[in-house]
Symmetry: C3
Subunit: 248 residues, 3 copies
């Protein structure tokens, strides 16, 4: 039996929106320890991970591990019907094979979406050590990515002991975001050796879309190796891995 | 001669917008008793009725009954040019065969739209008695309809002595709005015998679009019979009849 | 060397947006006297002129006349990335053949767009004297143009000693804006002899789009001759000439 309730359900909406572009179907694992979701996109370029502790819920009725398979576009569409002050109840109806979303506000509304038969995926977790660890304000990173998007499909991330930069270059022009130690937008910078690698702008945009403007985002990367993106929300955690692009 | 003026013309705009999707051309009947419009949509599924008393106007210069035929999309487009603080004057120019909309604000602007040659329609008024009469807050009803729209084209309305519900069901999932006696969104519920019927979501959305969030909407229906929708605005009245859908 | 900086860069954004629809490429001339741009649209129907004094800049480092050729859609797209509180630095990089836009705010971001090889155009300046000079509030003029746009592609401007009007007529209906002496939206009216001429609504809309609602716009015209449109912004000037349309 799974029946959980949240009076601050924004984190769900945010997470689902941020992964809809990456993954089609997701297996949310509800267990007495909380909710987690971990998946790779079909092209195996990225890994997405989401965790929410039972503390994020007002009521958390989960007796045993239950895998809830959902088509993400349908989950997103249903969540979009939630009003800002609504309480959200998620209720798995195994009989009708549905996930019910109950919105409690001035009225009580219920939306049911079909459950997919899915198993929890066992995903290989690459062992990675990173040459650079950079913590930046989400707003600044997002602006840099939007700039880069105008110029090219890929963006170069670089870090040395003094600064972190995000640059794009094409015949359409160039874009550059530089954050140096002491800058307001750069929270911390730990670099064991200079690192530089290229990643997809679109994936980076999707992966950071769940963070609010004032959140801090941690980026870890090494030259030509995968990037890890992390950020925390209250009682929850977002984590992404993204493979580098190789220059043509 | 028809020349009327309103300093709160929002009701016109609202009404015209709400019926544009249902009816193409409308015959507004101006008379010393006020303005009324009554029409059926081309497929005869719905009947639309609108009445506005002379009190809704600052100036109401209507000497004799005059039928003003207008293409509603043109009326809507012209009304969309009105600014929020403008005074609206409607002026029938029989010589040039035009309805003039004069907007008085920081400037005086005039838009003229062609008059159509139309007669007032004699519409059969079905004698209906209703098993259920439900008064709901507009906002709540509209939310329920938007939920249903995601799921199906038709929605089932049901009422018994204790509750009113609006449900949709398809392979895309389900949606349900339940209002029980005592709920904030349910103003009153009078049910002589349980009633349930299916109606088009799109028509219901159009018919309730003229009501503001805080307005009360009256729904009257019986099992598998037409639905009547009513709501009042200051010095005016909206009324709709909608044929039921029969389940396949 | 050209390197200029503005803490109120809105005027650039406004100007570039207002001419993007008219002109594809523009040669901005930076000189110690300020910045100017003057161009005709490809069909030679309109002339566009823009001037900005060095006072509009916090820093104005221009040693000698430099022609900066830019594709306007690219300039507009880059300026759209500027945030409302950003300081804007424009920096011509002759080596990389780029105009750099540097946005300084919570972070420092740089966008580079390709320079085009362009010369300052020598444009014939028609000698014009005008029968009517009308100063109107921008907001009112813009409303009149939007009304006219619904009705026809062209609009008739007329002025006599007592009033200025803007009228459109087609089988879709009619629109009319009349401003008489004393009206709030009419700042001044000087008419040596009655004037009337027809101009393109779309061009007029583009040419006035750079003016804020409360700005005053000066219109000068004579019967069936070109129209001049002028308005000032702080430390700058917009000017347009537009050829009349001849009635079919």
């Amino acid at each position: 039996m799974v029946r959980v309730s949240m009076s601050e359900p924004k984190v769900w909406k945010t997470f689902v929106s941020s992964v809809t572009a990456l993954i089609e179907e997701a297996a949310f694992v509800f267990s007495p320890e909380g909710v987690r979701m971990k998946a790779m996109d079909p092209s195996k370029i990225s890994l997405v991970e989401f965790e929410l502790s039972p503390k994020a819920f007002d009521e958390f009725n989960v007796k045993e591990k239950t895998v809830v398979g959902i088509k993400l576009t349908e989950f997103e569409r249903a969540l979009s019907r939630m009003k800002s002050k609504d309480q959200l109840i998620l209720d798995v109806d195994t009989e009708k094979n549905r996930l019910n979303l109950v919105f409690k506000g001035a009225s009580t509304r219920r939306l049911g979406i079909p459950l997919l038969s899915m198993e929890e995926e066992e995903l290989p977790e690459p062992k990675l050590s990173f040459a650079a660890k950079v913590v930046v304000r989400a707003e600044v990173l997002k602006d840099g990515l939007k700039d880069a998007e105008m110029i090219a499909e890929n963006v170069r991330l670089s870090a040395d002991k003094k600064s972190f930069s995000l640059t794009a270059e094409s015949d359409r022009g160039s874009s550059e975001l530089v954050l140096s130690t002491g800058d307001e937008g750069l929270i911390s910078l730990e670099v064991s050796e200079p690192a530089t690698a290229i990643y997809s702008v679109r994936y980076l945009k999707d992966m950071t879309s769940g963070a609010s403007a004032s959140d801090n985002i941690t980026l870890k990367f090494s030259t030509d190796l995968p990037l890890e993106i992390d950020f925390n929300v209250e009682n929850g955690k977002f984590r992404y891995l993204l493979a580098p692009r190789v220059e043509a």
